[in-house]
Each structure stands twice: as structure tokens, then as C-alpha cells.
Symmetry: C2
Subunit: 360 residues, 2 copies
């Protein structure tokens, strides 16, 4: 596994991506995100070292840009002028931005409940955004558009879900290549916020590439961090049939899926991994700000579930753990804001200032 330094963004790894060698990359210089050493997290988990892979440093501030870069480039390679995506969040923003860069049309099938920030992002990038009444309606319509109009799918459109198109999932392999380059070794555990497990599976495939090529001899255990718990339930059931758990709203909305995908279960089993849920909103936001206060990293709530997953894992003292910080808290600051102390208005004197600091 080797990079080509003259290629932009994750296309430095294009030999390992499912693209023809002649296809021009659609890139916004995604990837090459920092791996931040967080001693406070290592102490909390009682491990040798803990890192956050800060994926908020991507072009649309989430790891979805890696999928979008490869999938939109593939759509251009296939000669398509339209991509279609079912989404209420980061996934749609990323695909819309790359479609803008490629000058092709992006159709977003969303729900009326789409958060305003996400809708604004997608529309700002020029996507055509329409809402359906039901999630299953979106997938049915997307299947029709893909089969009858030849639009290229950028997300899941099967019911029950299986995950995104494989060439998009392969974009996440680059996270594994980068972690290996940055760490000089393979971590023992990689924690990934997980819904349909595109990221979990793609990162695992990247580590498999590293072992297959003889670059490394070990593989990490992949750990799924989920708000609702379908992966944990399926692993516990020990079957190939993915379980559906009870659904409820979660601040970790970007991973709040009540249903697991087979690709995710397969990855967890192959890697000897595990899955942990954290349904408590208060706890998720508390972990989000715990990390921000100690490290200067403000992750999305879905990624903060990974902190709790690490707590539940029971690591060994020699373990080296990477948490994938999939996106920024800035996409939904209101969930954090409602749990913050009000800002006091003070008199412009040092005694009043110091009194308020002591009290806080």
C-alpha cells in the first residue's frame, strides 16, 4: 500500500481505490486528517495510548467526504450527469459538495424532518432537495431512479438497508492507510460511530489491504459505537439475521439506526470486534464536552458515543486505541447549548469578574 504524492487528497491512494487509472479525480483535498494524541482519554480508558482521528477537518467537515470523493469520481467515470442520495445529514452535504465540484446534478431525497443546518448545507452546494413523507418511500423512489433513469446511487437504497455502494465504501479504506502511516503501527482497537457500517467496513478493508500486501502482520479489533444497539443485539443473538431494536430519538441522530447491516456484523465478527450502545442523551453530551474541555476537540454527538464505547470495552493496559471523530459538533450545537450554563452579565470591575469565575 503506497501513496502517490502528486495526486490530490485521498487520491494519493488511488491505486487502492476502485477507479480507472485515467479518470480525473474529483477532489476537494479531503483526507490526511490529524491523528491527535489524547493523554486524558488514555488515562480514562487505562490504555497505553489513545488517539482521535479528527475527521471534522474534511471539506464538508465530516468523514463522508471520503465516500463522496470516490463515489462522485466513479459517477463521472461512468459518464453520468446525475447522482442521487437518500439522506438527512452529513452524507448528503458531502455528496452535494463533490457534485458541485464535478459540475453534475445532485438530487437529494430527504424527509421533512431534515435538520435546517443540513438542508442549508445541501442547498448551498446547489443540490436539488425534495422531501418524502416516509423513509421507505425515499428508498423505493431511489431504486426507480437508479434502474429507470440511470442515476448513480450515493447511499443505501435497499430495504432493509445493506449500506452504500461498495465503490463509495472503499473511500474509507484511506482512513486505515493514514492511521498506519501516522502511528507507524496498527492500533489494537479502532472505535467507529456506526449506523449502516459503511465507515466501519471500509476502514476494516483498508487494514486488510495493509496485511494482504505484507505491510503489517496484525489487524485491529473494530468496535462499533451506536446509540440504539442493533449491532450489540445481533452479536448477542449469534445469528446472521440482523436484529432490529426499539427506535427513539437521540442526540446522536447521525447514527441512530435501529437496524444493523450485514456488512457491519461481518466486519465485527471478522475482526473479533464488539459493539456498545449509549442511549442516554445526557451522557452523550457530557462525554462530548468532557473531551472538548480536555483536548480542544469538539466532536459530533455520534462520535462522543465512542467515548462511552471505550469505557464499556474493558481495554488492556497495553492497548493502543483510535477513536474516529466522524464529524464536528458544529453541525448541531443546539444539543450542546441546552446543557450549558447561562452566560452571566457582570459589572466591568475586577472584583465582579473574579467573583463570577470563582462561582463557576
Amino acid at each position: 500500500v503506497r501513496g502517490e504524492p502528486d495526486q490530490p487528497g485521498i487520491f494519493t491512494w488511488r491505486h487502492h481505490l476502485p477507479l480507472l487509472s485515467t479518470t480525473p479525480p474529483v477532489s476537494l483535498f479531503e483526507g490526511d486528517t490529524p491523528l491527535l494524541d489524547i493523554p486524558e482519554l488514555a488515562e480514562r480508558w487505562r490504555v497505553s495510548a489513545a488517539y482521535v482521528k479528527d475527521e471534522s477537518r474534511n471539506p464538508t467537515w465530516s468523514y463522508k467526504d471520503r465516500l463522496a470523493a470516490v463515489a462522485v469520481t466513479k459517477a463521472v467515470e461512468l459518464g453520468s450527469d446525475t447522482v442521487v442520495v437518500s439522506t438527512t445529514g452529513n452524507h448528503g452535504a458531502a455528496v452535494a459538495a463533490y457534485a458541485a465540484r464535478a459540475h453534475i446534478r445532485c438530487v437529494v431525497l430527504t424527509l421533512a424532518s431534515v435538520p435546517e443546518t443540513m438542508r442549508t448545507l445541501m442547498q448551498s452546494y446547489g443540490a436539488s432537495v425534495v422531501a418524502l413523507r416516509e423513509s421507505t418511500e425515499r428508498w423505493a423512489l431511489m431504486r426507480q431512479a437508479v434502474s429507470e433513469l440511470g442515476w448513480i446511487p450515493m447511499s443505501n437504497f435497499q430495504d432493509p438497508p445493506v449500506g452504500s455502494v461498495p465503490f463509495g465504501v472503499d473511500g474509507y479504506k484511506t482512513i486505515a492507510y493514514e492511521i498506519h502511516r501516522q502511528l507507524g503501527r496498527i492500533p489494537t482497537h479502532v472505535i467507529v460511530p456506526t449506523a449502516y457500517a459503511d465507515g466501519l467496513t471500509g476502514i476494516w478493508r483498508g487494514f486488510e489491504d495493509l496485511r494482504r500486501s505484507g505491510t503489517v502482520s496484525e489487524l485491529p479489533a473494530m468496535v462499533a459505537a451506536e446509540p440504539l444497539g442493533p449491532y450489540g443485539a445481533t452479536l448477542a443473538a449469534g445469528t446472521d439475521r440482523t436484529q432490529i431494536v426499539e427506535s427513539h430519538p437521540s442526540v446522536a441522530f447521525s447514527t441512530a439506526s435501529p437496524v444493523a447491516t450485514f456488512q457491519g456484523i461481518h466486519t465485527l465478527r471478522m475482526s473479533g470486534g464488539r459493539a456498545f450502545s449509549q442511549p442516554d442523551d445526557e451522557r452523550i453530551i457530557s462525554d462530548q464536552t468532557w473531551l472538548a474541555e480536555r483536548s480542544g476537540i469538539y466532536m459530533e454527538a455520534a462520535a462522543a458515543v465512542g467515548v462511552s464505547a471505550g469505557d464499556q470495552m474493558g481495554f488492556g493496559a497495553d492497548d493502543v486505541v483510535v477513536l474516529v471523530g466522524t464529524s464536528t459538533g458544529l453541525k448541531d450545537p443546539t444539543s450542546t447549548a441546552v446543557r450549558m450554563a447561562p452566560v452571566p452579565t457582570i459589572e466591568p470591575t475586577l472584583p465582579d469578574l473574579l467573583a463570577h469565575l470563582d462561582g463557576s
Copy 2:
């Protein structure tokens, strides 16, 4: 001007930063942001090439992280346990994150009108945030805290304003070093969204370093993009006394200063630069989405003022222009959202989908 690859973030340039060689860097791997070639912008401005330096790719998603990295490292070097900053925005978020990383206290003096997203960011990073009734009260209190308590200032605290402490401003020099490395030459013009001109001045100092060291023989013209116009007014008046213009609210709130600083006027004069204002909110948001739709880059409104500044500049056909995209639109998506078309709810059929796409 040379880098040290074993140092994190902008500390790769630490020989050129005002720090002792023994001081450990406080870094979140800031800087090394992409320089994106935007053919659509080059065509609009009728220049040889146009680039956006995407500073939203920093740890707190704005270029202020470069200032904060150097200024907080300096505070630690000086043995301080508290930094203080007067801010309602990006500046405070950046300083709060770096103070968290350094494990020192950050006191933020803000106004009751601080946008909720900015307040949430600062509080998430653990800063002590208090509000004053008037902007001038903040500066007076900050002066007292600096002189009587020995707290280290991270922002302007003079009235009228002069800009931030010089060691913080020097953090912006790294933008010039990176542009030179990425472009292999010096651009003819660098457009910088400007309030108190820390960025404009720091970037200019970086280019001066490159010339002084013999790396290059030319310097760019520095162009200030401002919503209200104090730099343009001062240049037009031709005096050393900075002008105060009429104030009004602007979507470009992060640069909406009615008063220029001397450092900014000095930089514009030394570089043979100019200043252009754009007071029209509709036009600013229209330029913001114009760029997002064509390039996949969603900049803050203050940076979109730079698009208009380029329109007004009247470039030559051989010019090579860099626009500094200081932060992300994600910090204030509401300004964009109110100008977006509503999302239609459609029937789950291809004819209904296509009818809505044709109409949009």
C-alpha cells in the same frame, strides 16, 4: 524560510515564530490547509488563476487557530495560567480550544448579543464566559486584568483598537509560507476579509520574510475585503488617522467593524493594496452560494465579501489571485437558510420527482 517536518501543525515554521526554541508547542495540528484552484472564480474575475485558501479546515474551523496556537504557546512559555480574550466569535472559540489543549484557564469577555453557536463552542471547550454591557467596558476590564492580574491578552484590548498582540499576529505569517509552497510562486494579489487586520498584517509579514530571506523577489498586493468600509475611507482620505464609518448590522458580522486599525492601513499602503466594501447582505449571501454551487466550498459570509472585492478590483489578465476563506458558513447557516427555497414534499413517483426538478 524553511519548515521542520517533525514539528506539529504550524510549528513546522517555528524558526519564524516569536517563541523560544525550548518551548513545547500547543498544537491541534492547525494549518497546512488546502489551496483550491477555482476556475470559475478565475473566469469571473478574468485572471490567469484564482485560488481559495480553505481555512475552514483548521481545528476550530477558522484561521484564528493560527493566532491561538502561537499566542497560547507564548502564554505557557511566559508561565501564565490564564489567558483572556474579548470576542463574540471565531477568535474566542480558537483561544478556548488551545487553552483547553494547554490545560490553562481561558476567560472570555463577550457581549449578551454573542451568537449562540459561538457561545456554545467557547463553553464546550471549557472557557469561563461572561458578558459585559458595552464593547468598551470589555476592553477596559481586559486592560485591568492584564495589568493587575498578569493575565495574557489574546485579542485587542485598546480603544480605539490596534489589533491583537504581535506574537499572535505572527501566527498568520504561516499562511504566506504555505501559499508560496503550494503555488511555487507569489500570487499578485491576496484578498483577506478584514476587521482589525490581524490576518491581513500577519500574512503580509510572512511574504516580507520570504523576500527578506531571498526566497522570492516579488511581493503581492494585499486587498482588504470589508462589509462596512473603514479601510477604504481611510485610504481615500490619505491620512494616518484611521477613519470611522457608519455602523450597521451585517451578515458578515465577523468583520463588521466601523473602525480601521493602523496596522491594516500600514499593510495596505506598504503592499500597494486596496480595500473594498460590500454592505449589501443579499449580495454577500448570493456570492457565498455562488461559490458553493460551483466549487463545493461553503465559506463564512465575511469571506464571501472577498468575492465582491475581487469583482471591484479590476484585475489584469495575468494576475494570480488568492482569496483567504477565513472560516466556514457552518458557523452561521441561518443567514444562508433564510434565502433558500423551501424544500417541497413530493409523491414517491418518478414523474412527480422530475416535475419538481424541472421547476427548480
